[in-house]
């Protein structure tokens, strides 16, 4: 009989977009995981998954849910499909790792959390920055008090957003239509990128007591493509959050200004040559390694029956904060 340590967790993957493909690669190469089935509406994406090594592919994700051997499902779908999919997965009794943001709005987020609780399944939300060693080390520094009180924190998360990042590869990718529709995304750059920093800062400093945002529209879309938020936290820290889809060079950066010392953590894509070599040798780039750690942790929680974090409730609080940021938003159109 297999012991807990050697037993492979059997996963299903729903959605093979940009994030889905990262999860696919990691699922296929993580020793503790057996990827049982993948699903996507695109046959081209499923062919790609087959070539990568996925055995069972479906255009309808309900087929995955019928397989009783599957322990958990990764949901990497567009924001507007999270609720219906998470409900179906939870009702099938499978644990869930859903990509951020949890949902388009607080109402949908509450539905997901409640249905996961009702069906007694684990619910984790994919905030990869929480698994990046550099951002985790800041948490340790705050807890150890080496920085003193953090008075001001700057958080930056910028990149090309839904638009193809020129530095990554030579061929641009089409942008799916849902990215351009507010009713399908639930929001713009704050929802897409700001949720990472809001989640991270809440982890560092506790709950948000107030937040205001300034929303920019460089691309003239109905959703903001860049924004600055200023938030106050229960710890007394002030967080300045800058997000945007305007840059060809992506960067995730946090700077903490403390009463004793200051600290910076940063993550930017590595050199393309090194990234290619790492992909060949480790099946993951340095930039994507936090997703691998995240998956490893999720699998560990399933194996040892632990409650994973960031949890659904945690991500729901992020949605409440984002909702408040939009409510108190000043449009700079």
């Amino acid at each position: 009989m297999e012991g807990v340590a050697t037993k492979k967790v059997r996963l299903g993957l729903i959605g093979l977009g940009y994030m889905g493909k990262i999860h696919l690669r990691h699922c296929l190469n993580l020793g503790s995981v057996k990827l049982v089935a993948v699903s996507d509406v695109s046959k081209k994406a499923l062919d790609f998954a087959k070539k990568m090594g996925a055995k069972n592919t479906f255009t309808d994700y309900h087929q995955i849910l019928k397989d009783s051997s599957i322990d958990a499902v990764i949901i990497a779908l567009p924001n507007h499909l999270h609720t219906s999919c998470a409900e179906a997965v939870a009702e099938a009794g499978k644990d869930i790792l859903v990509e951020k943001p949890l949902a388009r709005n607080v109402k949908e987020g509450k539905e997901i959390v409640s249905i996961a609780k009702r069906n007694d399944v684990k619910l984790m939300v994919g905030y990869d920055m929480r698994f990046s060693p550099s951002f985790r080390s800041l948490k340790e520094k705050i807890q150890n008090g080496v920085l003193g009180d953090i008075q001001i924190a700057y958080g930056t998360n910028i990149g090309a957003g839904p638009f193809f990042h020129r530095a990554e590869l030579s061929i641009p990718r089409p942008v799916p239509n849902w990215w351009f529709k507010k009713e399908l995304t639930g929001g713009g750059a704050i929802m897409d990128l700001g949720c990472h920093i809001i989640n991270l800062f809440r982890w560092y400093f506790g709950e948000v007591t107030s937040i205001k945002s300034y929303l920019g529209y460089r691309y003239d879309l109905e959703i903001e493509d860049h924004a600055t938020c200023i938030a106050k936290f229960v710890s007394g820290s002030i967080g300045v959050i800058n997000v945007g889809w305007f840059s060809q060079e992506s960067q995730k950066k946090v700077e903490l200004l403390g009463t004793v010392k200051h600290a910076i953590a940063c993550r930017a894509p590595e050199n393309r040559i090194f990234a290619g070599i790492r992909l060949l040798t480790t099946k993951s780039t340095q930039y994507e390694s936090s997703y691998l750690r995240e998956l490893h942790y999720f699998v560990h929680c399933i194996k040892h029956d632990l409650a994973p974090t960031p949890s659904g409730n945690d991500a729901l609080k992020d949605l409440e904060t984002i909702s408040l940021a939009y409510k108190n938003g000043v449009s700079l159109k």
Binding site: K21, I22, L24, R25, F48, K51, M52, F163, F164, R166, L169, S170, I171, P172, R173, P174, V175, F180, Y219, D220, L221, Q248, R272, I273, G276, L279, L280, K283
Partner: protein, 298 residues
């Protein structure tokens, strides 16, 4: 030999751009006919990458050109800015994201997605090979067609400029199907759709990285202006197949007479590709050739 003018935009104001455009037209002795009613401007919109990357024609440059045309022809002339859908780019978003929608509202010009335009099937022969394309009505009906390209490096063709910009007038969105015979397809489209004037927006040059070059080039001859662009980018024009092919097909002349500022001034400042970029492109081609893309999950 055809005339190609080289002028420099001095300063960031629309007036300095206007002056550079006017000077570049004077240098090639170009005059707008008074009886023009419909003008088509083919800007170069590259995916959703804004003008600051040097890959997309600056809508402010096009706006200035629109003013010049209205001043010199008539305030009532109909002007359409045209582009077509591509494999990864949709005009309905590109016009908005790249700033053309705002510009069109301000300048009262039409934005035409050629992929949605009425068109008729036509055949054209290049090097003995027949090509079939749909010819958009807006292009057909124009009395004046102005090509406003960018100078760019491209793996398939070494550099691209005026001739390649017309590839974007092909309404068929899945343009990658032509990539096996890209040079022939470029020349075929230029044979089919003759543009009367080329004005290069080289204010921000792409290349290894964007750089403010301030260059405006003009010519009646797309082959000559491409040869001049190749010279500035440090590439031998004779090694660029679509330039030599276009010359052989009688679209223009690959030899040119420079007018205005010496091309060497811009050549010295053009952001050349670095060795690492070249190595990376070679490595990526190798990855594609041996099918590693799928294995790596790209």
């Amino acid at each position: 030999m055809s005339l190609v003018s080289f002028t420099k935009v001095r300063g960031a104001s629309p007036n300095s751009t206007r002056q550079a455009i006017l000077d570049s037209l004077d240098l090639i002795q170009f005059q707008f006919a008074r009886n023009i009613r419909n003008v088509v401007i083919k800007a170069n919109m590259c995916y959703y990458w804004g003008y600051s990357t040097g890959l997309t024609t600056d809508p402010k440059f096009v706006a200035t050109l629109v003013d010049v045309i209205r001043d010199q022809v008539s305030p009532d002339v109909n002007i359409s800015i045209v582009e077509s859908d591509a494999s990864a780019m949709k005009c309905k978003y590109a016009f908005k994201i790249l700033g053309y929608e705002k510009m069109a509202r301000h300048c009262k010009v039409a934005l035409v997605n050629l992929s949605k335009d009425e068109s008729e099937r036509v055949e054209v022969v290049v090097g003995g090979q027949p090509f079939r394309f749909m010819l958009p009505r807006t292009i057909q009906n124009a009395d004046l067609r102005v090509n406003v390209p960018k100078i760019k490096y491209m793996d398939y063709t070494k550099i691209t400029c005026a001739l390649k910009n017309i590839f974007g007038c092909n309404p068929y969105p899945k343009k990658f199907i032509y990539h096996r015979k890209l040079d022939e397809a470029i020349v075929a489209l230029n044979k089919l759709m003759k543009f009367h004037l080329c004005i290069v927006d080289g204010i921000i040059a792409s290349g290894a990285q964007p750089r403010r070059l301030g260059l405006v080039m003009a010519s009646r001859d797309p082959v000559a202006i491409d040869a001049a662009a190749a010279k500035i980018a440090g590439v031998n024009a004779r090694s660029i197949r679509h330039i030599t092919l276009a010359s052989r097909e009688g679209i223009g002349n690959a030899s040119f007479i420079p007018k205005g500022i010496a091309p060497e001034y811009f050549k010295k400042r053009y952001p050349r590709k670095r060795v690492t970029d070249k190595v990376m492109n070679l490595a990526y081609k190798l990855v594609q050739t041996v099918g590693l893309e799928t294995r790596l999950g790209l």
